[in-house]
Symmetry: C2
Amino acid sequence: MLVKSEQAITNADRTFFQLRKDIVEGVIPAGSKLSEMELSTKYEVSRAVIREAINRLATCHLVERKANVGARVVALSPEGLIQLYQVREALEGMAARLAARNMSDDEIADMQALLDSHFDKVKDGQSYYQEAGDVDFHYRIVTGSKNDHLISVLVDGLYHLVRMYRVQLGMAGPRVSTAFDEHRHIVNAIANRDEELAEMLMRRHILYSKNNIEKKLNNG
Amino acid sequence: MLVKSEQAITNADRTFFQLRKDIVEGVIPAGSKLSEMELSTKYEVSRAVIREAINRLATCHLVERKANVGARVVALSPEGLIQLYQVREALEGMAARLAARNMSDDEIADMQALLDSHFDKVKDGQSYYQEAGDVDFHYRIVTGSKNDHLISVLVDGLYHLVRMYRVQLGMAGPRVSTAFDEHRHIVNAIANRDEELAEMLMRRHILYSKNNIEKKLNNG
DNA sequence: AAAAATTATAATGTCGACAATATATGCCTG
DNA sequence: CAGGCATATATTGTCGACATTATAATTTTT
């Protein structure tokens, strides 16, 4: 599930990953305060490594820190989610464009094979696709852009926030088969090296997701 | 010159700002190693605050850190600059679109006034425009998007890297009057609430800048 | 009694020392 | 003499204690 090998070397790494997981999955509730002392006893490390972990979380925008006051887990808001998707639209649209330019033929073939395997599972009625499959797909395109800044902002930053929203607002939801078709079209555009179309399709794909989520938020 | 009031509260803040300045302006050379001990004596603070500052710089992508080894200032490369401009194109294009949607009439009027004042200076042959004027313009549009993620990624992250490239590769350059016209067109589109056009013009504006820079790198 | 000022408390910010790791040096072996 | 291994050194990672700041409680004053 964790595609990029983010292996923890130091204690601060481990604590950072653990804290991030707990925040994304809601074990540590959104909006709650992060006490350095409390966490240092809970995770059995010194305050210094907790501080470092919290600082890293702050740069991911998973927590907000105020000087001499402390850090709080970010609060989830509909506007925040919308804004997230606006940035995703811009960034992943560009990623699709660059993927059409820079991915190797082999990488594209791999991605097509991945999509085929997903199709089999969707066909069998497995709801597996939604989470891991979607993540895989978007992740491949982003890395396929070969643009380090793009990769970093999305993979290290926004995706964790997106997952936090998904998990905590219970967006397991549908849009499985339709999203699958959209994925297929995007990959085709990339295979044809059609940058313009790849970007446009990706932007619309993300826009649809956003609209779908907005609808859910307003109804439920 | 510093539009957003990034006021330093703590020592770590001050050290972070100072280090960032020294790196961006090349006082600390690109690619050089950042020794914690050395810096702690030089800046007269403890290693802890140096570490925190370096960590923050790492998340701005101004330095790269390896566990148990240390941190180095990033190396400047033509590819890196190109990649930066690709991300800018995507992000600032979206910012222009959102600015056309979300800026208040007053904010737009202010921005037009700003452009007028810039025009006067360009007309008088002052080369003032290039640096501060360009920064001001882009900054206003980004903040006008009202999208916190967008603002943060650009203002806290990419812009400092862009400035580092500009300063250290000596991109004081021309493109003044033509860029000014492009700015004018973008503001007009925003004033007309034409999201589509605003985004397209901003993307082309940044693309032109990129091409201009590429040409310089290849020639000189 | 209400509001302001002051003290008390508890958190974050900062520091210097110790532990663990990576690199450099020198030694031993083939 | 070359290559690998062991040691030495220096740097980063981690820790607990102290300093400083913000918040809460208490007292004082109007």
